[in-house]
């Protein structure tokens, strides 16, 4: 590990007023969007994308990653105060966090959540940093053959893990890949699926696809009365900083649990598609199992807040790894970041290890520093957190629509994108409405060009025998394993459900 680069980038991050200013904007915004049920952190990142256009790559990436890093910290606030998860990953926190609030320990629960998120975020970043020297030779050993299979593995993983219906997941993953084929064919140079439109020659850009699949469906749902939450009964309750501080100290009282769940979260983050829900529930289960008094869980045990929160934030460190080094986003949020990175001129992939390692370190530190900043900012805002109930998310709909359209236009400077995003947005809403898992689509769009380019190169270098390379065989085994695991899980569930046997 090059210590100079590692700590030099930290020094730059902490002493550059511009970067600190950007983080001071991104962190409260990320926490706010995370805290608003019906909005969510991805929308926050979507809104910021147009603003990073034209920025220096490092500044833009730091801004977006800082925002993304603290989304889950904000998401825990409504879970704890109102019993309503800000996002899917915060559902595990409701069990004990909301019970603590009902027992008059809301401030302490918030403190435990902030402290755990901060510790988890920092440890997740440290985990990523420590893996770098180990990872470098592995990343560099990957050839086009392995990248092709890695792309297929990413889609299979995400399709099998993203919902009950694997067929829907696979169909959308394949559709994402088909969308990625729009444009000029890399081998023959001929146009594919462009229907005579010049703007499609460059393909459908990732930003438009992601905005259409996430921002637009959420706004249509919010505007049509779905996902609007009324928690005005709990509004304006004041919490004391001393109570919150007590909760932060709790994280250090349970340091063993915090460390273990941070590590588990970071490892889960490494696996594309497994996501935050799995991380938080697995760690919650671990907290119950490892407790001497498991009967307290579900009734307001502070460990029930600490465990899922550390995992939620530490998994972002793990998820950044496949995103940056293999261009395989670990989650839909990371897919969005990946698209934004490409727009900024950052090319994730193995070359980032050799050519742009200072950027990698900068992002690792941004992940850690933004988590610490978030704890400090939320601690300062504690007395007013109850006022969140007064915010009306539907008021933000027109602004999100305008900035989504702007982001789509700016991503390739084509006004035709405004028509494209409308149709893809309607498709995205249909998918949302009828429970088609959208992450495989986004991953397909992101991985499509990687898969195609790698396949052509692998075939040119080795012919069909590239499937027999050692790492290829391991990846093929993993693809088969993920499908077999899905089939086994489905059969087991059908046996366990009475009447289905």
């Amino acid at each position: 590990m090059n210590i100079d680069i590692a700590f030099g980038t930290l020094f730059t991050l902490l002493t550059d007023p511009y970067l600190i200013f950007l983080m001071l904007i991104a962190v409260p915004l990320g926490a706010f969007f995370g805290a608003m049920p019906g909005l969510g952190g991805k929308l926050g990142v979507v809104l910021l994308i147009p603003f990073v256009f034209g920025m220096e790559p490092i500044a833009g990436a730091v801004l977006l990653l800082s925002m993304h890093a603290v989304v889950h910290t904000g998401g825990s606030i409504p879970s704890i105060l109102f019993g309503i998860p800000g996002d899917g990953t915060s559902t595990a926190v409701v069990l004990d966090g909301y019970e603590m609030t009902r027992n008059g320990e809301g401030g302490r629960a918030l403190g435990a959540s902030f402290g755990a998120s901060g510790i988890g975020g920092v440890l997740g970043a440290v985990f990523l940093g420590l893996l770098l020297p180990v990872l470098r030779p592995i990343v560099l050993a990957f050839s086009p053959a392995e990248f092709f299979l890695l792309a297929i593995l990413g889609i299979t993983f995400i399709a099998t893990l993203s919902g009950k219906n694997v067929v829907k997941g696979l169909v959308l993953g394949l559709l994402g890949l088909m969308v990625a084929f729009v444009g000029l064919d890399p081998s023959t140079g001929g146009p594919r699926y462009t229907f005579g439109h010049l703007f499609l020659w460059d393909g459908i850009d990732i930003i438009t696809a992601v905005l259409a699949m996430y921002a637009i469906p959420e706004m249509i749902a919010l505007g049509s009365g779905q996902g609007v939450v009324d928690y005005s009964d709990s509004a304006n309750k004041k919490y004391k900083i001393s109570e919150v501080w007590d909760g932060i100290i709790d994280v250090f009282r349970h340091w063993g649990l915090s460390l273990r769940t941070s590590l588990v979260g970071a490892v889960i983050g490494l696996i594309p598609g497994l996501g935050g829900d799995a991380a938080s529930w697995i760690c919650y289960g671990h907290a119950v199992q490892s407790s001497k008094t498991p009967e307290r869980f579900g009734k307001g045990a502070v460990e029930g807040v600490i465990a899922p929160e550390t995992a939620n934030n530490s998994k972002e460190g793990g998820a950044l790894l496949p995103t940056l080094f293999f261009a395989v986003p670990g989650s839909s949020g990371m897919a969005l970041l990946l698209g934004a990175f490409l727009m900024l001129g950052i090319q994730p992939g193995p070359t980032i290890v050799t050519e742009n390692i200072d950027l990698v370190w900068m992002l690792i530190w941004a992940l850690a520093v933004s988590n610490v900043l978030c704890v400090v900012i939320l601690l300062g805002l504690t007395p007013w957190l109850g006022s969140l109930a007064n915010v009306r998310p539907p008021l933000l709909i027109p602004f999100v629509l305008v900035f989504a359209l702007l982001g789509s236009y700016l991503s390739s400077a084509a006004w035709e994108n405004l028509i494209l995003i409308f149709f893809l947005g309607c498709l995205g809403y249909m998918c949302r409405r009828h429970s088609w898992p959208r992450p495989p689509f986004v991953i397909g769009v992101v991985l499509g060009p990687v898969a195609e380019d790698s396949l052509h190169k692998a075939l040119a270098l080795w012919g069909p025998s590239f499937f027999l390379r050692p790492i290829s065989l391991i990846l093929i085994a993993m693809i088969i394993g993920s499908i077999a695991f899905y089939i086994w899980r489905t059969r087991r569930e059908s046996v366990e459900v009475p009447g289905n046997a």
Partner: protein, 147 residues
């Protein structure tokens, strides 16, 4: 009336079938390999999903209020896209924000005014003058304004 879940599955099947047909008919051999490798399993899987949806007996019909809300929101989204295509971002965005806040959200006049002004200031002073981005001007403004 056909349910949304059947329409969605049918739409997926139609997209994949069209994509595979186009690849077979119009692409040269080298260019159609991956679209076929991906498209054919897509046709098979979406057909399986469609059959599964057709066999389902339970209905997932949305309430009339939700359905009306969905149609209204899609119409609003289409309006945002159309107005911005015609008026550009600088003029179209404040117009649509004001229209949405006053007609759909039924906000007070000063909220409408602040919302429209805020987005105009961001587009004009942050994007155009601050970052130096040339925003899409629309179809109509260039006919009257010399940029």
């Amino acid at each position: 009336m056909l349910e949304g879940r059947i329409i969605t599955a049918g739409l997926m099947l139609a997209i994949f079938t069209t994509a595979v047909t186009i690849a077979l008919l119009y692409f040269p051999a080298g260019a159609r390999m991956l679209p076929l490798v991906i498209g054919i399993p897509g046709v098979i899987l979406s057909a399986i999903q469609l059959v599964s949806e057709l066999r389902k007996s339970d209905s997932e019909q949305a309430s009339p209020e939700v359905r009306a809300g969905e149609i209204r929101m899609i119409a609003w989204f289409a309006s945002f896209a159309c107005v911005i295509i015609f008026l550009g971002f600088t003029y179209g965005s404040p117009v649509m924000i004001a229209a949405y806040l006053s007609i759909r959200a039924k906000e007070k006049w000063y909220t409408v005014l602040i919302g429209a002004a805020l987005v105009w200031v961001i587009l004009e002073y942050v994007f155009t003058q601050g970052i130096g981005i040339v925003l899409y001007e629309g179809i109509i403004p260039p006919m009257f304004i010399v940029y």
